[in-house]
Protein backbone atom coordinates (compact mmCIF):
# COMPACT_ATOMS: atom_id res chain seq x y z
CA UNK A 1 0.00 0.00 0.00
CA UNK A 2 1.15 3.56 -0.72
CA UNK A 3 1.80 5.58 2.41
CA UNK A 4 0.32 9.06 2.63
CA UNK A 5 2.64 12.05 2.53
CA UNK A 6 2.78 14.19 5.67
CA UNK A 7 1.80 17.84 5.41
CA UNK A 8 4.58 19.15 7.67
CA UNK A 9 7.27 19.21 4.98
CA UNK A 10 8.15 20.12 1.38
CA UNK A 11 8.59 17.83 -1.60
CA UNK A 12 10.54 17.76 -4.84
CA UNK A 13 9.40 16.26 -8.13
CA UNK A 14 12.42 13.98 -7.76
CA UNK A 15 10.63 12.35 -4.82
CA UNK A 16 12.66 13.76 -1.95
CA UNK A 17 11.28 15.56 1.06
CA UNK A 18 12.75 18.31 3.27
CA UNK A 19 11.55 18.97 6.81
CA UNK A 20 12.56 22.15 8.66
CA UNK A 21 13.63 21.62 12.26
CA UNK A 22 13.82 24.13 15.11
CA UNK A 23 17.64 24.32 14.88
CA UNK A 24 17.49 25.79 11.37
CA UNK A 25 18.40 22.56 9.63
CA UNK A 26 16.51 20.60 7.02
CA UNK A 27 16.09 16.85 7.31
CA UNK A 28 16.09 15.19 3.89
CA UNK A 29 14.70 11.83 2.85
CA UNK A 30 12.91 10.06 0.02
CA UNK A 31 9.13 9.97 -0.16
CA UNK A 32 6.95 7.04 0.71
CA UNK A 33 6.01 6.84 -2.95
CA UNK A 34 9.67 6.58 -3.96
CA UNK A 35 10.40 3.97 -1.29
CA UNK A 36 7.43 1.93 -2.45
CA UNK A 37 8.49 2.14 -6.09
CA UNK A 38 12.08 1.16 -5.32
CA UNK A 39 11.19 -1.92 -3.33
CA UNK A 40 13.58 -3.42 -0.79
CA UNK A 41 16.43 -0.93 -0.30
CA UNK A 42 19.77 -2.63 0.35
CA UNK A 43 22.34 0.20 0.05
CA UNK A 44 22.22 3.94 0.52
CA UNK A 45 25.21 5.95 -0.61
CA UNK A 46 25.32 9.60 0.51
CA UNK A 47 28.12 12.16 0.99
CA UNK A 48 29.84 12.61 4.35
CA UNK A 49 29.19 15.47 6.75
CA UNK A 50 30.63 18.81 5.57
CA UNK A 51 30.02 17.96 1.91
CA UNK A 52 28.01 20.42 -0.14
CA UNK A 53 24.86 19.50 -2.01
CA UNK A 54 23.05 21.59 -4.61
CA UNK A 55 19.32 21.81 -5.20
CA UNK A 56 18.05 19.30 -7.80
CA UNK A 57 21.56 17.92 -8.38
CA UNK A 58 22.62 14.37 -7.69
CA UNK A 59 24.07 13.81 -4.22
CA UNK A 60 24.02 10.04 -3.88
CA UNK A 61 22.54 6.72 -4.90
CA UNK A 62 20.00 4.40 -3.43
CA UNK A 63 19.96 0.76 -4.49
CA UNK A 64 17.23 -1.81 -4.14
CA UNK A 65 17.44 -5.50 -4.96
CA UNK A 66 16.25 -4.75 -8.48
CA UNK A 67 17.68 -1.36 -9.43
CA UNK A 68 19.75 1.67 -8.56
CA UNK A 69 18.43 5.23 -8.51
CA UNK A 70 20.11 8.60 -8.14
CA UNK A 71 19.28 10.83 -5.21
CA UNK A 72 18.72 14.53 -5.93
CA UNK A 73 19.00 17.18 -3.24
CA UNK A 74 15.77 19.10 -2.59
CA UNK A 75 17.82 22.09 -1.36
CA UNK A 76 21.36 23.44 -1.52
CA UNK A 77 23.53 23.52 1.56
CA UNK A 78 26.10 21.83 3.73
CA UNK A 79 25.60 18.28 4.98
CA UNK A 80 25.84 18.34 8.78
CA UNK A 81 24.76 14.78 9.54
CA UNK A 82 23.99 11.53 7.75
CA UNK A 83 21.83 8.68 8.98
CA UNK A 84 24.46 6.08 9.91
CA UNK A 85 21.72 3.70 10.97
CA UNK A 86 21.03 3.00 7.31
CA UNK A 87 24.40 1.23 6.95
CA UNK A 88 23.14 -1.72 8.93
CA UNK A 89 19.42 -1.18 8.43
CA UNK A 90 18.74 0.14 4.94
CA UNK A 91 15.26 -1.36 5.23
CA UNK A 92 14.36 1.64 7.43
CA UNK A 93 13.94 3.59 4.18
CA UNK A 94 11.08 1.25 3.27
CA UNK A 95 9.66 0.84 6.76
CA UNK A 96 9.83 4.46 7.83
CA UNK A 97 10.66 6.74 4.88
CA UNK A 98 9.46 9.92 6.62
CA UNK A 99 11.04 9.29 10.00
CA UNK A 100 13.70 6.68 10.82
CA UNK A 101 14.65 6.32 7.16
CA UNK A 102 15.86 9.91 6.79
CA UNK A 103 19.06 10.38 4.75
CA UNK A 104 20.73 13.73 5.55
CA UNK A 105 20.57 16.82 7.72
CA UNK A 106 21.47 19.88 5.69
CA UNK A 107 22.23 23.47 6.70
CA UNK A 108 20.43 25.25 3.84
CA UNK A 109 22.41 27.96 2.05
CA UNK A 110 19.47 29.66 0.34
CA UNK A 111 16.11 29.83 2.05
CA UNK A 112 14.48 31.10 -1.14
CA UNK A 113 14.95 27.70 -2.73
CA UNK A 114 12.09 26.33 -0.62
CA UNK A 115 9.76 28.11 -3.04
CA UNK A 116 10.86 25.63 -5.71
CA UNK A 117 9.37 22.74 -3.74
CA UNK A 118 5.82 21.45 -3.49
CA UNK A 119 3.61 21.05 -0.45
CA UNK A 120 2.09 17.65 0.32
CA UNK A 121 -1.06 18.37 -1.69
CA UNK A 122 1.01 19.61 -4.61
CA UNK A 123 3.19 16.50 -4.50
CA UNK A 124 0.14 14.26 -4.36
CA UNK A 125 -1.29 16.09 -7.38
CA UNK A 126 2.05 15.66 -9.16
CA UNK A 127 1.93 11.91 -8.47
CA UNK A 128 -1.57 11.72 -9.98
CA UNK A 129 -0.29 13.60 -13.01
CA UNK A 130 2.54 11.16 -13.64
CA UNK A 131 0.26 8.22 -13.00
CA UNK A 132 1.88 7.30 -9.70
Amino acid sequence: MEPSHPADRSYSKEHEWALATSDGLLVVGITGHAAHELGDVVYVSVPKASATVRQFEKFGEIESVKAVSDLFAPVSGEVVAVNDGLNDHPELVNQSPFDQGWLLKVRPSNAAEMANLLDAAGYQAFLSEIGG
Partner: protein, 365 residues
Protein backbone atom coordinates in the same frame (compact mmCIF):
# COMPACT_ATOMS: atom_id res chain seq x y z
CA UNK B 1 6.15 -4.09 -26.97
CA UNK B 2 2.83 -2.33 -26.37
CA UNK B 3 1.23 -3.22 -23.08
CA UNK B 4 -2.00 -4.32 -24.77
CA UNK B 5 -0.15 -7.08 -26.61
CA UNK B 6 1.18 -8.69 -23.44
CA UNK B 7 -0.01 -12.20 -22.68
CA UNK B 8 -1.51 -12.96 -19.29
CA UNK B 9 -1.49 -16.27 -17.44
CA UNK B 10 -4.69 -17.91 -16.15
CA UNK B 11 -3.60 -16.75 -12.66
CA UNK B 12 -3.44 -13.06 -13.63
CA UNK B 13 -6.60 -12.02 -11.77
CA UNK B 14 -5.32 -13.79 -8.65
CA UNK B 15 -2.06 -11.81 -8.81
CA UNK B 16 -3.95 -8.54 -9.17
CA UNK B 17 -6.13 -9.50 -6.22
CA UNK B 18 -2.97 -10.05 -4.16
CA UNK B 19 -1.84 -6.53 -5.19
CA UNK B 20 1.22 -7.86 -6.99
CA UNK B 21 3.34 -5.39 -8.90
CA UNK B 22 3.13 -6.49 -12.53
CA UNK B 23 5.87 -6.04 -15.12
CA UNK B 24 6.35 -7.13 -18.73
CA UNK B 25 8.64 -10.15 -19.01
CA UNK B 26 9.26 -12.29 -22.09
CA UNK B 27 6.05 -10.99 -23.68
CA UNK B 28 3.95 -11.64 -20.57
CA UNK B 29 2.48 -9.43 -17.85
CA UNK B 30 3.98 -11.08 -14.77
CA UNK B 31 4.23 -10.41 -11.02
CA UNK B 32 7.70 -9.12 -10.09
CA UNK B 33 6.86 -8.96 -6.38
CA UNK B 34 3.87 -9.16 -4.05
CA UNK B 35 5.09 -7.39 -0.92
CA UNK B 36 8.87 -7.61 -0.80
CA UNK B 37 11.50 -9.40 -2.86
CA UNK B 38 13.60 -9.99 0.27
CA UNK B 39 10.71 -11.47 2.26
CA UNK B 40 9.76 -13.72 -0.66
CA UNK B 41 13.38 -14.82 -1.06
CA UNK B 42 13.65 -15.68 2.64
CA UNK B 43 10.33 -17.55 2.58
CA UNK B 44 11.67 -19.90 -0.12
CA UNK B 45 14.97 -20.45 1.72
CA UNK B 46 13.31 -20.98 5.11
CA UNK B 47 9.83 -22.41 4.45
CA UNK B 48 8.15 -22.48 1.05
CA UNK B 49 7.00 -20.19 -1.73
CA UNK B 50 5.01 -20.45 -4.94
CA UNK B 51 5.71 -18.87 -8.31
CA UNK B 52 3.44 -18.56 -11.30
CA UNK B 53 5.71 -19.83 -14.07
CA UNK B 54 2.89 -20.33 -16.57
CA UNK B 55 4.73 -17.98 -18.94
CA UNK B 56 7.28 -20.74 -19.61
CA UNK B 57 6.62 -22.72 -22.77
CA UNK B 58 5.05 -26.19 -22.58
CA UNK B 59 5.19 -28.18 -25.81
CA UNK B 60 3.94 -31.77 -26.06
CA UNK B 61 5.42 -34.17 -28.62
CA UNK B 62 3.94 -37.42 -29.88
CA UNK B 63 4.73 -39.97 -32.55
CA UNK B 64 6.88 -43.01 -33.24
CA UNK B 65 9.55 -40.65 -34.56
CA UNK B 66 9.39 -38.18 -31.64
CA UNK B 67 12.43 -39.54 -29.83
CA UNK B 68 14.57 -39.63 -32.96
CA UNK B 69 13.53 -36.10 -33.92
CA UNK B 70 14.35 -34.69 -30.47
CA UNK B 71 17.64 -36.61 -30.45
CA UNK B 72 18.74 -34.67 -33.55
CA UNK B 73 17.86 -31.29 -32.04
CA UNK B 74 18.68 -31.48 -28.33
CA UNK B 75 22.04 -31.94 -26.64
CA UNK B 76 21.02 -34.78 -24.31
CA UNK B 77 20.89 -38.47 -25.15
CA UNK B 78 17.11 -38.74 -25.49
CA UNK B 79 16.82 -42.57 -25.54
CA UNK B 80 18.39 -42.68 -22.08
CA UNK B 81 15.60 -40.56 -20.56
CA UNK B 82 13.30 -43.08 -18.92
CA UNK B 83 9.53 -42.52 -18.83
CA UNK B 84 8.84 -40.76 -15.52
CA UNK B 85 12.00 -38.67 -15.76
CA UNK B 86 13.14 -35.40 -17.25
CA UNK B 87 16.49 -33.95 -18.15
CA UNK B 88 17.95 -30.46 -18.29
CA UNK B 89 19.32 -29.97 -21.79
CA UNK B 90 20.07 -27.40 -24.45
CA UNK B 91 18.81 -26.58 -27.89
CA UNK B 92 21.76 -25.35 -29.92
CA UNK B 93 22.18 -23.68 -33.28
CA UNK B 94 24.32 -25.22 -36.04
CA UNK B 95 27.13 -22.98 -34.82
CA UNK B 96 26.86 -24.32 -31.27
CA UNK B 97 25.16 -21.25 -29.78
CA UNK B 98 22.57 -21.86 -27.08
CA UNK B 99 19.13 -21.19 -28.55
CA UNK B 100 17.45 -22.17 -25.28
CA UNK B 101 17.93 -24.18 -22.12
CA UNK B 102 15.05 -26.52 -21.42
CA UNK B 103 13.78 -29.53 -19.54
CA UNK B 104 12.71 -32.48 -21.66
CA UNK B 105 10.39 -34.93 -19.87
CA UNK B 106 9.62 -38.37 -21.24
CA UNK B 107 5.97 -39.33 -20.82
CA UNK B 108 6.10 -42.67 -22.66
CA UNK B 109 8.05 -44.38 -25.43
CA UNK B 110 6.54 -41.98 -27.96
CA UNK B 111 5.51 -38.93 -25.96
CA UNK B 112 7.53 -36.07 -24.48
CA UNK B 113 6.93 -32.75 -22.78
CA UNK B 114 9.32 -29.86 -23.34
CA UNK B 115 9.48 -26.89 -20.96
CA UNK B 116 11.30 -23.91 -22.48
CA UNK B 117 11.84 -20.27 -21.58
CA UNK B 118 8.96 -17.82 -22.03
CA UNK B 119 10.85 -15.40 -24.24
CA UNK B 120 12.13 -18.22 -26.48
CA UNK B 121 8.89 -20.15 -26.97
CA UNK B 122 8.14 -18.79 -30.44
CA UNK B 123 11.76 -19.16 -31.53
CA UNK B 124 11.76 -22.78 -30.31
CA UNK B 125 8.52 -23.53 -32.17
CA UNK B 126 9.95 -21.99 -35.36
CA UNK B 127 13.16 -23.99 -34.86
CA UNK B 128 11.19 -27.24 -34.57
CA UNK B 129 9.34 -26.47 -37.82
CA UNK B 130 12.56 -25.61 -39.56
CA UNK B 131 14.25 -28.92 -38.79
CA UNK B 132 11.28 -31.26 -39.20
CA UNK B 133 11.65 -33.48 -42.26
CA UNK B 134 8.58 -34.85 -44.06
CA UNK B 135 9.78 -38.31 -43.00
CA UNK B 136 9.75 -37.42 -39.27
CA UNK B 137 6.81 -39.23 -37.63
CA UNK B 138 6.33 -36.58 -34.97
CA UNK B 139 3.77 -33.93 -34.16
CA UNK B 140 3.66 -31.35 -31.42
CA UNK B 141 1.25 -29.08 -29.71
CA UNK B 142 1.99 -25.87 -27.84
CA UNK B 143 -0.04 -26.19 -24.60
CA UNK B 144 1.34 -23.06 -22.97
CA UNK B 145 -1.75 -20.88 -23.19
CA UNK B 146 -4.24 -23.51 -21.95
CA UNK B 147 -2.27 -24.71 -18.95
CA UNK B 148 -0.84 -23.39 -15.72
CA UNK B 149 2.60 -24.09 -14.28
CA UNK B 150 3.31 -23.41 -10.61
CA UNK B 151 6.71 -23.77 -8.95
CA UNK B 152 6.36 -24.80 -5.29
CA UNK B 153 9.83 -24.33 -3.80
CA UNK B 154 11.48 -24.49 -0.40
CA UNK B 155 12.35 -26.95 2.37
CA UNK B 156 8.68 -27.26 3.31
CA UNK B 157 7.55 -27.88 -0.28
CA UNK B 158 7.05 -31.65 0.27
CA UNK B 159 4.92 -30.93 3.34
CA UNK B 160 2.84 -28.34 1.50
CA UNK B 161 2.27 -30.81 -1.34
CA UNK B 162 1.31 -33.46 1.19
CA UNK B 163 -1.13 -31.02 2.83
CA UNK B 164 -2.98 -30.85 -0.50
CA UNK B 165 -3.18 -34.62 -0.88
CA UNK B 166 0.02 -35.03 -2.85
CA UNK B 167 1.83 -37.10 -0.22
CA UNK B 168 2.54 -39.98 -2.61
CA UNK B 169 4.11 -37.56 -5.08
CA UNK B 170 6.18 -35.85 -2.38
CA UNK B 171 7.42 -39.21 -1.08
CA UNK B 172 7.90 -40.92 -4.42
CA UNK B 173 9.50 -38.40 -6.71
CA UNK B 174 13.25 -38.14 -7.00
CA UNK B 175 15.09 -35.12 -8.44
CA UNK B 176 13.95 -34.61 -12.05
CA UNK B 177 11.36 -37.36 -11.70
CA UNK B 178 7.72 -36.65 -12.56
CA UNK B 179 4.35 -38.29 -12.06
CA UNK B 180 0.70 -37.50 -12.49
CA UNK B 181 -1.59 -37.27 -9.51
CA UNK B 182 -4.15 -35.23 -7.67
CA UNK B 183 -3.25 -31.95 -5.93
CA UNK B 184 -6.12 -30.30 -4.05
CA UNK B 185 -8.36 -32.76 -5.91
CA UNK B 186 -7.15 -31.54 -9.31
CA UNK B 187 -5.32 -33.63 -11.86
CA UNK B 188 -1.75 -32.44 -12.31
CA UNK B 189 1.65 -33.29 -13.75
CA UNK B 190 4.19 -32.87 -10.95
CA UNK B 191 7.97 -32.84 -11.40
CA UNK B 192 10.63 -32.53 -8.72
CA UNK B 193 12.40 -29.61 -10.37
CA UNK B 194 12.89 -25.90 -9.85
CA UNK B 195 14.99 -22.81 -10.32
CA UNK B 196 15.76 -21.71 -6.77
CA UNK B 197 18.41 -24.04 -5.35
CA UNK B 198 15.84 -25.53 -2.97
CA UNK B 199 13.88 -28.74 -2.96
CA UNK B 200 10.57 -28.34 -4.70
CA UNK B 201 8.13 -29.18 -7.42
CA UNK B 202 6.83 -27.79 -10.67
CA UNK B 203 3.14 -28.47 -11.11
CA UNK B 204 1.41 -28.34 -14.50
CA UNK B 205 -2.37 -28.49 -14.81
CA UNK B 206 -5.17 -27.36 -17.12
CA UNK B 207 -5.99 -23.67 -16.60
CA UNK B 208 -8.97 -24.01 -14.25
CA UNK B 209 -7.36 -26.81 -12.26
CA UNK B 210 -4.13 -24.86 -11.97
CA UNK B 211 -5.95 -21.79 -10.78
CA UNK B 212 -7.64 -23.91 -8.10
CA UNK B 213 -4.32 -25.41 -6.97
CA UNK B 214 -2.70 -21.95 -6.79
CA UNK B 215 -5.56 -20.68 -4.63
CA UNK B 216 -5.34 -23.72 -2.35
CA UNK B 217 -1.62 -23.03 -1.84
CA UNK B 218 -2.23 -19.31 -1.18
CA UNK B 219 -5.04 -20.19 1.24
CA UNK B 220 -2.63 -22.60 2.93
CA UNK B 221 -0.32 -19.64 3.63
CA UNK B 222 2.42 -20.55 1.17
CA UNK B 223 4.06 -17.24 0.21
CA UNK B 224 3.39 -16.08 -3.35
CA UNK B 225 6.70 -15.01 -4.88
CA UNK B 226 7.43 -12.94 -7.97
CA UNK B 227 10.09 -12.78 -10.65
CA UNK B 228 12.25 -10.55 -8.43
CA UNK B 229 12.80 -13.28 -5.85
CA UNK B 230 13.03 -15.88 -8.60
CA UNK B 231 16.04 -13.99 -9.95
CA UNK B 232 17.84 -13.56 -6.60
CA UNK B 233 17.19 -17.23 -5.75
CA UNK B 234 18.39 -18.63 -9.09
CA UNK B 235 21.47 -16.42 -9.05
CA UNK B 236 22.46 -17.56 -5.53
CA UNK B 237 22.11 -21.10 -6.90
CA UNK B 238 24.22 -19.99 -9.94
CA UNK B 239 21.59 -21.24 -12.36
CA UNK B 240 22.01 -19.52 -15.72
CA UNK B 241 19.39 -17.19 -17.14
CA UNK B 242 18.95 -17.46 -20.90
CA UNK B 243 19.31 -14.07 -22.55
CA UNK B 244 21.79 -13.02 -19.85
CA UNK B 245 24.30 -15.73 -18.93
CA UNK B 246 23.72 -17.92 -21.96
CA UNK B 247 22.46 -17.01 -25.44
CA UNK B 248 22.90 -17.96 -29.11
CA UNK B 249 26.21 -16.05 -28.85
CA UNK B 250 27.57 -18.37 -26.15
CA UNK B 251 28.38 -22.07 -26.48
CA UNK B 252 28.02 -24.83 -23.86
CA UNK B 253 31.79 -25.14 -23.41
CA UNK B 254 32.40 -21.55 -22.31
CA UNK B 255 29.13 -21.54 -20.34
CA UNK B 256 30.27 -24.57 -18.30
CA UNK B 257 27.30 -26.59 -19.54
CA UNK B 258 29.17 -29.40 -21.25
CA UNK B 259 27.64 -31.76 -18.69
CA UNK B 260 24.30 -31.26 -20.46
CA UNK B 261 25.76 -32.30 -23.81
CA UNK B 262 26.02 -35.98 -24.82
CA UNK B 263 28.97 -35.48 -27.14
CA UNK B 264 29.25 -39.18 -27.93
CA UNK B 265 25.63 -39.73 -28.96
CA UNK B 266 26.14 -39.13 -32.69
CA UNK B 267 25.11 -36.14 -34.73
CA UNK B 268 22.89 -33.38 -33.42
CA UNK B 269 22.56 -29.65 -34.08
CA UNK B 270 25.74 -27.87 -33.07
CA UNK B 271 27.65 -31.09 -32.33
CA UNK B 272 30.65 -30.51 -34.58
CA UNK B 273 31.20 -26.94 -33.37
CA UNK B 274 30.79 -27.94 -29.71
CA UNK B 275 33.26 -30.84 -30.15
CA UNK B 276 35.72 -28.48 -31.77
CA UNK B 277 35.28 -25.85 -29.03
CA UNK B 278 35.96 -28.55 -26.45
CA UNK B 279 39.12 -29.66 -28.28
CA UNK B 280 40.49 -26.14 -28.60
CA UNK B 281 39.42 -24.97 -25.17
CA UNK B 282 37.30 -21.85 -24.77
CA UNK B 283 38.68 -18.31 -25.01
CA UNK B 284 36.40 -17.20 -22.19
CA UNK B 285 34.55 -18.89 -19.38
CA UNK B 286 31.51 -18.15 -17.26
CA UNK B 287 32.50 -17.50 -13.63
CA UNK B 288 30.76 -16.50 -10.42
CA UNK B 289 32.09 -13.59 -8.41
CA UNK B 290 31.25 -11.82 -5.22
CA UNK B 291 31.86 -8.21 -4.33
CA UNK B 292 34.32 -7.85 -1.46
CA UNK B 293 32.86 -4.69 0.10
CA UNK B 294 29.77 -2.74 -0.84
CA UNK B 295 28.18 -2.52 -4.23
CA UNK B 296 25.80 -4.52 -6.36
CA UNK B 297 27.04 -5.68 -9.75
CA UNK B 298 24.60 -5.65 -12.65
CA UNK B 299 24.57 -7.23 -16.11
CA UNK B 300 26.80 -5.66 -18.78
CA UNK B 301 29.23 -4.05 -16.34
CA UNK B 302 32.90 -4.35 -17.21
CA UNK B 303 35.12 -6.83 -15.36
CA UNK B 304 38.77 -5.80 -15.05
CA UNK B 305 42.06 -7.23 -13.86
CA UNK B 306 44.92 -4.77 -13.24
CA UNK B 307 42.97 -2.04 -14.99
CA UNK B 308 42.45 -4.10 -18.13
CA UNK B 309 39.00 -5.19 -19.29
CA UNK B 310 38.88 -9.00 -19.23
CA UNK B 311 35.15 -9.56 -19.65
CA UNK B 312 31.70 -8.45 -18.58
CA UNK B 313 29.04 -9.36 -16.05
CA UNK B 314 25.99 -11.16 -17.42
CA UNK B 315 23.96 -11.22 -14.18
CA UNK B 316 24.26 -9.44 -10.88
CA UNK B 317 22.22 -8.81 -7.79
CA UNK B 318 22.26 -8.38 -4.05
CA UNK B 319 22.37 -11.80 -2.39
CA UNK B 320 19.92 -11.79 0.52
CA UNK B 321 21.58 -14.91 1.97
CA UNK B 322 25.19 -13.68 1.76
CA UNK B 323 24.23 -10.02 2.28
CA UNK B 324 26.54 -8.85 -0.49
CA UNK B 325 26.67 -8.29 -4.21
CA UNK B 326 27.11 -11.39 -6.40
CA UNK B 327 27.28 -11.87 -10.12
CA UNK B 328 28.20 -14.10 -13.03
CA UNK B 329 30.04 -13.13 -16.15
CA UNK B 330 32.50 -14.20 -18.80
CA UNK B 331 36.24 -13.63 -18.34
CA UNK B 332 39.30 -14.68 -20.33
CA UNK B 333 39.74 -18.40 -19.81
CA UNK B 334 43.22 -18.07 -18.25
CA UNK B 335 41.71 -15.90 -15.49
CA UNK B 336 38.70 -18.11 -14.82
CA UNK B 337 39.99 -19.53 -11.54
CA UNK B 338 38.63 -19.54 -8.00
CA UNK B 339 40.26 -16.77 -5.97
CA UNK B 340 41.20 -14.45 -8.85
CA UNK B 341 40.67 -10.79 -7.90
CA UNK B 342 38.51 -8.77 -10.25
CA UNK B 343 37.35 -5.19 -10.36
CA UNK B 344 33.77 -4.49 -11.36
CA UNK B 345 33.05 -1.14 -12.96
CA UNK B 346 29.80 -0.32 -11.15
CA UNK B 347 28.76 2.91 -12.87
CA UNK B 348 32.27 4.27 -12.57
CA UNK B 349 32.93 2.99 -9.04
CA UNK B 350 35.83 0.51 -9.35
CA UNK B 351 34.62 -2.16 -6.95
CA UNK B 352 36.76 -5.08 -5.76
CA UNK B 353 35.37 -8.57 -6.31
CA UNK B 354 36.67 -12.13 -6.29
CA UNK B 355 35.93 -15.20 -8.37
CA UNK B 356 34.31 -17.77 -6.09
CA UNK B 357 33.03 -21.31 -6.31
CA UNK B 358 29.53 -21.73 -7.71
CA UNK B 359 26.86 -22.06 -6.50
CA UNK B 360 26.95 -19.10 -4.13
CA UNK B 361 24.37 -20.86 -2.00
CA UNK B 362 23.95 -24.60 -1.53
CA UNK B 363 21.19 -26.03 0.61
CA UNK B 364 22.11 -28.35 3.45
CA UNK B 365 21.68 -32.09 2.90
Amino acid sequence: MAESSLLVTPLHDQHVELAARMVPFGGWDMPVQYLSILDEHRAVRATAGIFDVSHMGRIEFAGVGAGAFLQRLFTCDVPTIEPGHGRYCLLCTESGGILDDTILYRRSAEAFLLVCNAGNRLAVLAWLERWKQPSDAVSWQDRTLETVMIALQGPQAPQRLTDLGGGDLAAGLTYFGWAEGAIAGQHAFVARTGYTGEDGFEIIAEAAAGSFIWQALVDGDVSPCGLGARDTLRLEAALPLHGNDISPETNPVEAGLLWTVALDKGDFLGASVIRQAKEQGPERRLVGFEVVGRGIPRAHQDLLVDGRSVGAATSGTFSPTLQRGIGMGYVEASLAKIGVDLTVDIRGAMTPARIVRRPFYKRAG
